[in-house]
């Protein structure tokens, strides 16, 4: 309860800043010959709405078991006035901040595995650079069409992909044996240590070429793709896959984020409210999750993604602008 009150106070504080800033601080600039914006909406409205929406997205993402980035890009890109270039830059930094925050705990507990992550991260982060450069070079229409298609694909994955708590790996492949990728973690639900190993490592690593490119191109984060590949294809236990995927994002998104930062596609007025909003929302979401597990939320997330994916697709095709 105290936490919710604290978060509420922080929300009010930041909202207050955003509300006060135009009058109190920028009065001088407002009096100067500023260029008239095309819209009559005051500048601070959109960052404020962005902050509130990302706060809600943070809660929904945790309850729906998805990363914030995958919700952020299609929803903010589809329904806010920001250009998709800036939305993707902000989306990457939102996903990066979330991954950086989760990383230390997951690594210390041994849930995220550095030996599994390092080779995968090298491929994914290198390809994310390529993806980011392609994404920034493409026209917005093309990006929106591809983004819409990808989001609809993610919806299909979420609906159809099965998960395996403890995949059976009869024999590790040669590459994973050579790299000594295996581990052990404590599973509280069973009260025992689980030994794990992986297989199909070359195929898995090859898949991360595509995942890296897509992560960089769309700024989505890539947990939706990382987890099925680590879990179903390579045979890592589900908890190890989820944790290692989250940690992986901190590396993949770092390389792509730098490309967006260095090419000017990062607006602090978008990025900071989004990061703070989604992180505060995640904190509240985790608290809610500890008390209840609303299954309906997952379907709501799928519905939300379906709608946002269609919006991006139709926007790209010029049918719904």
């Amino acid at each position: 309860m105290r936490l919710i009150i604290s978060v509420g106070m922080i929300l009010m504080l930041i909202s207050g800043f955003l509300l006060m800033a135009p009058g109190a601080v920028f009065a001088e600039e407002a009096a100067a010959a500023t260029v008239q914006a095309e819209s009559t909406t005051p500048w601070w409205v959109w960052p404020l709405v962005l902050f509130v929406v990302t706060f809600v997205l943070g809660i929904v993402a945790v309850l729906g078991g998805v990363g914030g980035g995958v919700l952020f890009v299609p929803i903010i890109g589809g329904f806010f006035p920001f250009h998709i270039d800036f939305v993707r830059g902000a989306g990457l930094l939102v996903a990066l901040a979330g991954a950086l925050a989760a990383g230390p705990g997951l690594l210390k507990k041994g849930m995220a595995d550095l030996r599994l992550a390092l080779p995968v991260a090298l491929i994914a982060s290198s390809c994310a650079i390529v993806g980011a450069m392609i994404g920034l070079a493409l026209p917005a229409k093309v990006v929106n069409i591809a983004l819409g298609g990808t989001i609809l694909g993610i919806v299909a994955i979420m609906l159809m992909a099965k998960k395996s708590e403890f995949p059976e790996v009869q024999k590790p492949d040669n590459l994973s044996s050579a790299l000594r990728i295996s581990g052990v973690y404590y599973e509280p639900s069973l009260g025992e240590n689980i030994n794990w190993q992986i297989h199909r490592t070359p195929q898995g690593l090859a898949t991360f070429i595509v995942i890296g490119v897509m992560a960089g191109m769309f700024g989505l984060g890539a947990g939706w793709a990382n987890v099925p590949v680590l879990n179903l294809m390579m045979g890592a236990p589900l908890k190890v896959s989820v944790a290692t995927s989250k940690f992986l994002l901190s590396i993949t998104d770092t390389s792509a984020a730098w490309i967006y930062v260095n090419n000017g596609a990062v607006l602090p007025m978008m990025v900071v409210p989004s990061i703070i909003g989604i992180m505060l929302g995640s904190i509240v979401g985790v608290r809610i999750l500890a008390k209840t597990k609303p299954a309906a939320i997952r379907y709501m997330v799928i519905g939300l993604l379906l709608f946002a994916g269609l919006r991006a697709l139709l926007k790209g095709l010029g049918i719904w602008n």
Binding site: P22, F26, W43, L100, I129, L136, I251, W258, I259, V261
Partner: protein, 138 residues
């Protein structure tokens, strides 16, 4: 015995540095943004003009605002909006520092393959951060 498993030395070293770096980065992000909002430093783009620019493709935006790419923001830290890039760059750089932290541990443990992988990863991330790679316009 359950729950007492210890992560490897390099994993713990990575986690410890990441924990500190992430917290420092977030604090920097919030402080610089408050300075921006309070108008303590005049921004390069007046906030009232932001709606005119945030709907533009990035190349048009850069031309219209006369903003240079790469690390040019370092020379404009006296401006409220550019000051925010200190926190953004720090958060984007934490992973590089974490990798640099584990490289000596990996080589000391004679884990040469992973040591080399970590060195290559640092080079990849430094290349991305260098500003050398420019995206084409659209």
């Amino acid at each position: 015995m359950g729950g007492k498993l210890k992560a490897t030395e390099e994993q713990l070293a990575y986690a410890k540095l990441l924990d500190v770096g992430m917290k420092v980065g977030l604090i920097m992000l919030v402080i610089t943004f408050v300075i921006y909002l309070l108008g303590a430093l005049t921004p390069h783009i007046p906030v009232n003009d932001l709606p005119k620019y945030w709907s533009m493709p990035v190349n048009e935006y850069l031309k219209a605002t006369d903003i240079h790419t790469g690390w040019s923001w370092l020379y404009q830290l006296g401006k409220g909006d550019f000051l925010n890039f200190v926190g953004i760059a720090f958060l984007s750089g934490v992973t590089i520092l974490c990798y640099m932290r584990i490289i000596p541990i990996l080589f000391r443990k004679k884990d040469t393959v992973y040591g080399i992988l970590a060195v290559i990863e640092v080079l990849v991330l430094v290349l991305a951060a260098s500003g050398i790679l420019k995206a084409g316009g659209h």
